[in-house]
């Protein structure tokens, strides 16, 4: 209780301030002390904003879990939930122990950080607390990158292997790439940011990295039984709970209001434009994906429309702080078109990505990064575009490459995929001896 009393005392103090000077405020009020006090309040506001934004981004875990589970079969729903729970739990600890230091620790090479493991930069409750606030915000980002994969590998991956994967992503793959683009936000200093790479909230750093890992996972695993017919025809394996997937998309959209504007880590007026851009891009993505699906399939497709929203959101993530609202609409609109074409194409390539993670996060992440250069408010140049493209390629090479190796190694050692029979019965039963919907008769 003591601590709480202190805080409250402080609160009361503030409440009564202006009418009387509190007893323990013996320092004389001066112009300088006032200036310091103002800055302290702004600092407090920055903490409050950054941490609320982190909470919103955390909530995206629930959104991902719902989208992925809704778009897959009832017999895999427990497993999806477990994967989303565990990649966040594993990811938090991995990022605490290793990832954060690699990403934001001091570096001489520009390739990865070598300090700040285990939050060692924190000097206790009386020291600077920013590293904790910043860690919290970055931790939920790392977990987002990790969780993107779980949809693409759904319904057929061994649970143990997924745990290994999510540890490695949060401890190594994501942070190392992250250090290249964002290291200098704390103590690091990456080669990519040195070139002026624009990726404000992570179209590439978070989404493409996650998306390309997802691609590697889906390729190494192979498709779910029945996804492609004997003559190579693409078959639909419809998701078991479309309303749940839709609510998941709404939650993700909400979370993005933390993801993008929260990336300012500053509570100031600049967040307004980022909010508006985020919202308009998502709206435009819905419209274009729905329209294109309507043209292509004769009906406005709900799965595609939902993916359109996510496509718009991923697309605006890189440029949300440096494009105009009108540009955001264009960026989101194009993202919505890209996602539809990409989903269909990936199916045709006989890669089985049950929820469209590769298209939404990988492909639209790349688009968003390029668009951030193209539509840059300050104008675009060949140099800017070159850097953006370098970033996009670097993300693909690094994330796809390392994840491919990782999945291959897991496959060869502990095994990556459940048996055919287990897959037919459902991964829930095989891996967790459980059913998701015990009072309902479930088909499929």
């Amino acid at each position: 209780m003591r601590k709480k009393i202190t805080f409250t005392a402080c609160t009361l103090l503030l409440l009564t301030a202006g009418t009387a000077i509190a007893a323990d405020e013996v320092v004389k009020i001066t112009v300088e002390s006032n200036a310091a006090a103002v800055k302290a309040v702004q600092t407090n506001l920055n903490y409050v904003w950054t941490l609320i934004a982190a909470a919103l981004v955390f909530f995206m875990q629930a959104g991902f879990a719902m989208v992925e589970s809704g778009f897959t079969r009832a017999k895999s729903a427990c497993n999806i939930m477990m994967k989303n729970l565990l990649d966040f739990a594993m990811g938090s600890l991995a990022f605490w122990a290793i990832g954060f230091g690699l990403m934001f620790g001091a570096t001489t090479t520009g390739l990865f950080g070598t300090t700040d493991f285990f939050l060692s930069g924190w000097t206790g409750p009386k020291g600077d607390q920013w590293i904790l606030a910043f860690w919290m915000f970055q931790c939920v980002f790392a977990a987002t990158a990790a969780t993107i994969v779980s949809g693409a590998v759904a319904e057929r991956m061994k649970f143990t292997s997924y745990l290994v994967y999510s540890f490695v992503v949060c401890a190594l793959i994501y942070p190392i790439f992250g250090s290249w683009a964002w290291g200098s936000l704390l103590n690091g200093n990456g080669w990519l940011e040195a070139k002026g790479f624009i990726d404000f909230a992570g179209s590439t750093v978070v989404h493409s990295v996650g998306g390309w890992c997802a691609l590697a996972g889906a390729i190494v695993l192979g498709p779910r039984k029945g996804k492609f017919g004997p003559k190579g025809e693409v078959r639909a394996i419809p998701g078991h709970n479309i309303p749940m997937a839709a609510i998941g998309v709404f939650i993700l959209w909400l979370g993005w209001f933390g993801f993008n504007p929260g990336s300012t880590t500053t509570g100031d007026t600049s967040i307004a434009m980022i909010f508006v851009n985020t919202n308009l891009a998502a709206a435009a993505g819905v419209i274009s994906a729905m329209t294109l699906s309507w043209i292509m399939f004769k009906k406005p497709d709900i799965g595609m429309s939902l993916n359109g929203a996510l496509a718009g959101l991923v697309g605006i993530t890189a440029g949300c702080a440096n494009v105009t609202p009108t540009s955001s609409i264009i960026i989101g609109f194009i993202a919505g078109i890209i996602v539809v074409i990409s989903v269909v194409t990936i199916d045709r390539l006989h890669i089985d990505d049950p929820v469209g993670a590769v298209s939404v996060h990988g492909v639209c992440g790349a688009w968003g990064t390029i668009a951030a250069g193209l539509f840059n408010i300050g104008g675009t140049t060949a140099a800017i575009m070159t850097t953006q493209i370098i970033g996009v390629i670097a993300a693909f090479v690094w994330a796809f490459g390392t994840a491919f190796i990782l999945f291959k190694v897991i496959d060869m050692t502990m095994g990556l995929r459940i048996t055919e029979e287990e897959e037919l019965e459902g991964v829930d039963l095989a891996e967790h001896a459980a059913h998701a919907y015990n009072d309902f008769q479930v088909i499929n």
Binding site: F71, V234, R235, A236, I237, P238, G239, S293, M296, F297, K298, K299, D301, G303, M304, N307, V340, V343, V344, D347, G356
Partner: protein
Amino acid sequence: MKKIETIIKPFKLEALKDALHDLNISGMTVSEVKGFGRQKGHTEIYRGAEYMVDFIPKVKVEIIIEEERVESVIEAIINAVRTGKIGDGKIFVLPVEKIIRIRTGETDKEAI
């Protein structure tokens, strides 16, 4: 005693139930089934992949009845559920050898 099995369109169940009530039918059992006959399925779309839904949701109604009432029940069923469109369904009649009411132990006709 006979068992009349009829496979009908789900939204006709209400009408069938009323018709059988009017006949003073003392019991019936309903289950959800899927099937096809002349009426074939339709195409659905899921995230850009079209697929055939072959089986159409139907309702199966089973009525155990005295032999002499079979005809009237069949007639009632046809009147209640027929729309003249494909997919109206079918009626099958099977023999039943014994009936027991669990509560009382009554058998056969008394048990219907």
